[in-house]
Amino acid sequence: MDWDAPAIVLDARPFGEGDAIATVMTEAHGAHRGLARGGSARGHAAVWQPGNLVQVRWVARLADQLGSFSAELVHPAAALAMDEPLVLAMLTAACAVAAGALPEREAHPRVFQGLVALIAHLAEGAALLPDLVRWEAAVLTDLGYGLALDACAVTGATTGLAFVSPRTGRAVTAAGAATWKARLLPLPAFMAPAFMAENAPPPLAACRDGLALTGHFLARDAFGLHNKPLPPARQMLYDRVAALALSESPPDAG
């Protein structure tokens, strides 16, 4: 058994003295584990950094075996992200969500293509946060937990959607939310289906709200059903964006 495909390195954990158990994601094979010989040794560790785009070859005697990987670096996304804390947090969060939420060896081409697009545009920094949030929503949709953000669950209106029910994942307008606002999750404008990309990126507070929204459903549905918490990398991204949002718009004195 063998295959050869472009892949994204999602995770690589040291195994033995110099090897690693790597998780990669490909378009046709989904999240896939394998033994990367020398993957944590000095010569090859750079290739197996999370977020890197690689051309990977998987070989095993039988299809259900762990098998082993060999890889060639195509795009050193990890090295390019290391200098920027926010960019690095976005990269590790996306990899952690993909590695933890997606079932192994199940193709999710839309999620793969979305992740490749995110990695290709990582240099945009905070401007890419809305795309990351939308990608997380796509992960939820691919797993069968899609959010219903096209119309208000109460009034049926398709505009002015402002909140999402944390229970059903359905959007509501401010009028429809009425006295329940405090119990609902804010819906940032960039999450609405009718949103058109503007020149100016949305404020960081909206990105924080978007991360809180998808984070809630990822924690409950994608990770919670497997008795796993939201990955620490995803939590660290939220904390960083929340801190940046706070410094962007300090609370009014008094």
């Binding site: 003295e17 750079a46 999370p50 670096l73 990890a78 290391m82 947090a89 660290m236």
Partner: protein, 197 residues
Amino acid sequence: MGGPEVERLIALLAKLPGLGPRSARRAALKLLTEPETRLRPLAAALTAAVGAVRTCRVCGNLDSQDPCAICADPDRDGAVICVVEGVGELWALDRAGVHRGRYHVLGGVLSPLAGIGPEDLHLAPLLARVEAGGVREVILALGATVDGASTAHWLADRLRPLGVSVTRLGQGVPIGGALDVLDDGTLAAALRGRRSA
């Protein structure tokens, strides 16, 4: 083969880094065939190390005195702390002889992907050392990996508000290295970190 004592010696040696069962057998054979010059001195050294070596309560180094020789050396600059992942990195840096300040061993790096958090590392004592005053610069000498960089950013966020200068090691072309054999990531880091000639 040689009795349970020999088998046990080989099994224990085989667990050491860099040794497998085959090389452990060779090492055991060398020790056993030269007991007076190899085995007894080694056994005595191991026994002495077990009794004497401990972790420095200030920096986390391994030494037979506490605080360690580096922390107790009055000629070292206590205003500059070099943060390293492990004792191996501390020894490597000190062997180079270019850092005359003090060190702090984290005992690993944060790994958001593997779930290793700040509470798993020796981070709080570092912040306490800086908060105690007298520190001018903290050098983050951590690995050029995603985990090393995540740890460096985490530390920088918490150290800068304490009023110290936070620096990190340069990245790029190694001494004696040729550009055509470097990986793309190292080349990118080298280009980003270029300086005027």
